[in-house]
Symmetry: C2
Subunit: 525 residues, 2 copies
Amino acid sequence: MPTTPPAAPAPPHYTQLCTLRHEARTLGSISSLLNWDQETYMPHSAAAHRAEQSAMLSGIEHERSTSTRLGDLIAQCEADKALTGDKGGEGGREAANIAEMRRDYDLATKLPTDLVSELARVGSQAQEVWKEARKTSDFATFQPWLEKMFALTRRKAECLKAGKAGGELYDALLDEYEPGATGKEIEAVFTPLRPRLSGLVKEIVGGKGKRPNDAFLNVPFAPAKQHEFGTLVLKAMGFDFDAGRLDTTTHPFCSGMAPGDTRLTTRYRDEKFTDALYGTMHEGGHGLYEQGLPKAERFGQPLAEAISLGIHESQSRMWENFVGRSREFWEWALPHAQGLTRETGGAGGPLDTFSVDDAFKAVNLVQPSFIRVEADEATYNLHVMLRFGLERSLISGELPVKDLPGEWNKRFKDLLGIDVPDHRRGCMQDVHWSFGLIGYFPTYTMGNLYAAQMWETIHTEVPGLRDQMRRGEFAPLLAWLREKIHRHGRRYSATELCRMITGKPLTADPLMRHLEGKLRGVYGA
Amino acid sequence: MPTTPPAAPAPPHYTQLCTLRHEARTLGSISSLLNWDQETYMPHSAAAHRAEQSAMLSGIEHERSTSTRLGDLIAQCEADKALTGDKGGEGGREAANIAEMRRDYDLATKLPTDLVSELARVGSQAQEVWKEARKTSDFATFQPWLEKMFALTRRKAECLKAGKAGGELYDALLDEYEPGATGKEIEAVFTPLRPRLSGLVKEIVGGKGKRPNDAFLNVPFAPAKQHEFGTLVLKAMGFDFDAGRLDTTTHPFCSGMAPGDTRLTTRYRDEKFTDALYGTMHEGGHGLYEQGLPKAERFGQPLAEAISLGIHESQSRMWENFVGRSREFWEWALPHAQGLTRETGGAGGPLDTFSVDDAFKAVNLVQPSFIRVEADEATYNLHVMLRFGLERSLISGELPVKDLPGEWNKRFKDLLGIDVPDHRRGCMQDVHWSFGLIGYFPTYTMGNLYAAQMWETIHTEVPGLRDQMRRGEFAPLLAWLREKIHRHGRRYSATELCRMITGKPLTADPLMRHLEGKLRGVYGA
């Protein structure tokens, strides 16, 4: 049996490198707290000073993340064969760690400071213009700002691409969010997905399917009770409340800000309690990934950080859609929801007349609609693919910004079969592009694809999973995720990890099998 | 009529100085948020990393607050006659600002780094020892640690005193909390106060007084409703919730952390709702001072900071005791409290049978007891005077640490007429000394004395104050505090301010007049 040799004491240049990274990331963890506080509890009038605090801290962190000393130590470690000579075994960990530190350092030092501040400055103005102009679907006012943002982002991509041969400009942007991914590869996965998904939606919604009754979604559920329900579900999922919390904000998010500190947020409305539930499970999935990273031992090192947005999203979507929208989940969860909507001690609550089947069908309703963030599990990906195609053409210059609205509406009709009534519900709905988040959208659907492909493997490797889910036992699933994904940090790329876990590169098939199987059942199609 | 000449544009060295201070204090404001979060919402497991974050940020702040560049700029400003030549008029503001920056710089640079970390290290250990030993009143275990802390604090005092002629060592410690105050001066105020206060307590409690009925304090009041009550009172006091908040913690505090951001905390128990109320009003008084400082214009400058702990405490005690424990306050507040303790829509709540007189008398109950933080308005000051005398003797070396328990118990009996049963309720009850907070205690009673003396002036300068209080109108009172105290920041010393406002130096008379008048009424003595 091959054994791992005992680790030699780390050489001083490696220890120092890790210390410098630890310090820089510690400053970053403070910035995360500033952001979290701003979204949760900060008083209104503190906003101006908060901006100063954040700018100052980011400045100090950036200085430390780009220091010559840090660069020298990375180079010294790279040249140290004892650290980087062997990619296998325990030594491979440190080699991966150093390679990823190099990646971060290059990314941080490649952009000239004036471009970074220009992007921040113009992005913040463009976002304000967008916010106002969107209200009246006024694309003409927004257009010059969007043009500026795409021009600046092209400059950014050129800096990031410098020295790399081949590929398109868009790849350099993608790489920031999904390391190593290229437009071509994503296209190769999205292209077969598009017609199958679009066809499935038309088949069940427009064709022979029977629309499920969604009365289940409209039952009154007091926000405080929704919070109890969400907390109960998070605890069952294995979220550690000693090392995290759940609060309410306008826009739900997860901040894995520090070792022992992962904070989730959600929002409650009086109607449609499942929105908060799935928001909570989604952020909970992100949170479990953050809690599963080996931060206690390696905070500040890539080995304690998440691989990519796509892999992060695979964790959130898995809990939200593959667990939360399953029949098995509702077998366990429905009695809890019923209990929480009954008056204290009483019987006959408003959820009591619904069956597991009612719940399962209602939460899997498919409905082509205009707004991405409100879309169902199936049509969501069509929204994302639309944006991917458009932003790629906008970056290459093939599509001028002025032609965006027309092109958006045309492609939207093709994909979803409905006419976009105005830009507010069309190409002006998302905040992303206005502040330069370009190359980000495809990671949402990649998350769904990764989740689907992993989910098939999980079913073969976690025996009794369906029965466990019926009993609200998610520990075996979480243990699998911890072992196969979380504990590795950035040791492997997303592509490597996918192959290691599922034995195959990423394809559209598992997601389509999942959606076709489930939705044809729900729609009796 | 004398007019202020238009301010000349500030010279660059002054502007730069203010910028550097602004930056250092901005880092400090982030540290304050870290502390606040730790006490309110931080998950348990985040504690270790939080300590790292705090240490790192304090380190960066300390570097900036003690930089040679900052020192040079202060010297340059001091030498600039246009800035410091005239103490009167508008120019006087900048002169005061620079003098206070010098004071802070000297304080920050006078202590050698190794002593600072030694104090932090030993203090943190001593505090842990104290926490454990206190449980069993085990002074023997605590004694060597207390000896170390007094020895280190003496070294600290020697460093701070270096270059200053005259005075005792203790003054150097006092000066950190109450700038300019001396042991001799405080003694001169405390000495006549002690027998009068002690005599009054004996007169009403042990003698001819009639103990008021305190059933009012023991009425059930749900914590959520107590929170509503506290919020209502804070709003009436003028606390700006757009620029602040109220949360719950184990130990109530106020953090005026940043411009537009003042956070209060309190704690609710099921019994004795007035504890939370007075905790809230006390912290609210601190909070109003913080909100009244000109931070929007001058954050980072002494002119936007509080004068001293004594003046800060005068604000909290004024709202807690002079407003909150008055008959007029309860004329306004009682109906609100009664409403909040009634069932929704119903009548006949548990507070309905109590009159304003019942409330007023119950909240002014006097009772010699062992624990300072639970003491009433009158005996509280006896607890403080005891500590002042003892810590002064401990610093001078006149009293060895080993003799502390005996001396404590003897003096306690003299002052309060009761026998200390154990050290837990005696000389081991407070955390302060264990981590080097020596010279801090007297500021509590100075706060009461300042409040009393100002309160007499306020009555002559705010016409109709009593009637306003009966109607819950505190705006005229707050306007007076803003105008006379808050807006000045550190422009004047506590002693100067007291003379300016009241026309006299600080004496014990106003506090005694206040207590004698009120308590003899309450006790029918």
